[in-house]
Symmetry: C2
Subunit: 226 residues, 2 copies
Amino acid sequence: MRISQLSAASGVPIPTIKYYLREGLLPQGEQTGATRAEYGQAHLRRLRLIRALLEVGRLPVASIAKIVAAVEDESTPVHRMLGTAHYALASPAVSDPGDQEQLAARERVDRLIDDLGWRITPDAPTRDELAQVLVRLAQLGRPAGEDDLRHYADVIMRLVAEREIGKVPMDGPRETAVESLVIGTVLYGKVFDVLRRLAHESESARLLEGRPAPPVRRTSRPERAG
Amino acid sequence: MRISQLSAASGVPIPTIKYYLREGLLPQGEQTGATRAEYGQAHLRRLRLIRALLEVGRLPVASIAKIVAAVEDESTPVHRMLGTAHYALASPAVSDPGDQEQLAARERVDRLIDDLGWRITPDAPTRDELAQVLVRLAQLGRPAGEDDLRHYADVIMRLVAEREIGKVPMDGPRETAVESLVIGTVLYGKVFDVLRRLAHESESARLLEGRPAPPVRRTSRPERAG
């Protein structure tokens, strides 16, 4: 198909397609004349992937270029290619690398992953991301208990293994696997998060409804510490 | 204590404390002279809450003012007060209210909540938030199945009821309950999300490791649609 047909089929404007071609995000079409090129299903699929990374993953173009390079390099195994996409979705760690609290939390995360027997590369940024949340929880006086972490991890792994991972099509085109992973990670992560907030609302309603209002307390007067 | 001691005990600079006093986020201290006021534990607790809402919840000051008003108004039942905090944490819905896809998804969410027997107020913005994610998933060709949604909801409710809700101290000072809810919702939500991404990495490693590399395919040539 011509570039105008590619634009109509994908919903991506022609100038945007040309920008992706210049940046190397989209492979060149087959030249069929001095100013004509022919595009195919592979281009359509790539455009879908780029839009998913941009609009769902909200990734910067530089990260998208890295993922596209891993998709195109067929010598990169599928697992490593998916890892590249995964890592691009992690929030960058902002803490000082010499921070003692962060280092201790990171060791705790590494031990947890070992104990669970999970296969996570040693340099996965997700390790530091989890360590950072643990540090913040401890600083706010709500440290995460070992038992809770392991219980969460077990429940989540069961869901992922039984319900989610099977939906990433590992044997189809490489871009389809990445696209599916990004949608699954970001959007199903959001489904999870909203359901969890709904469950909190419902449970606190159940616990508190019908209870009498607490006695009136003046907040502007000093009180004993709780 | 004096304002300088309140600053030292809370770690909040004096000018920031004065700003919170002017904005009504922090109740005035007890006047003990023309230019002197005395502050107490209630002020310390309120400062902790404000910092949690700002730094963990990343809420704008206007939303914080609404939550503080619900905390101070002792005639607001604890459940409604927590609801105010919950709703402030929801992402505002951005879709056109007349959008047919959004309306259909919203009906689906309402039915799901009814079927689950969850106690959610009819105007909870979380309902629209979930509907919006369902619309996006369908548009991207990954519609969420009824069975998956119910299964997620069941697993999440079990976790919340057994492990989480008990940690929100419902009987202590009102600010402590809100603070705990914000930390629990935002930071434990993040723990969840990171563990889920780790589980995905581990499962895809387990499924794909050791498999031979797929045959080389040229991505710049048109292929048959998958």
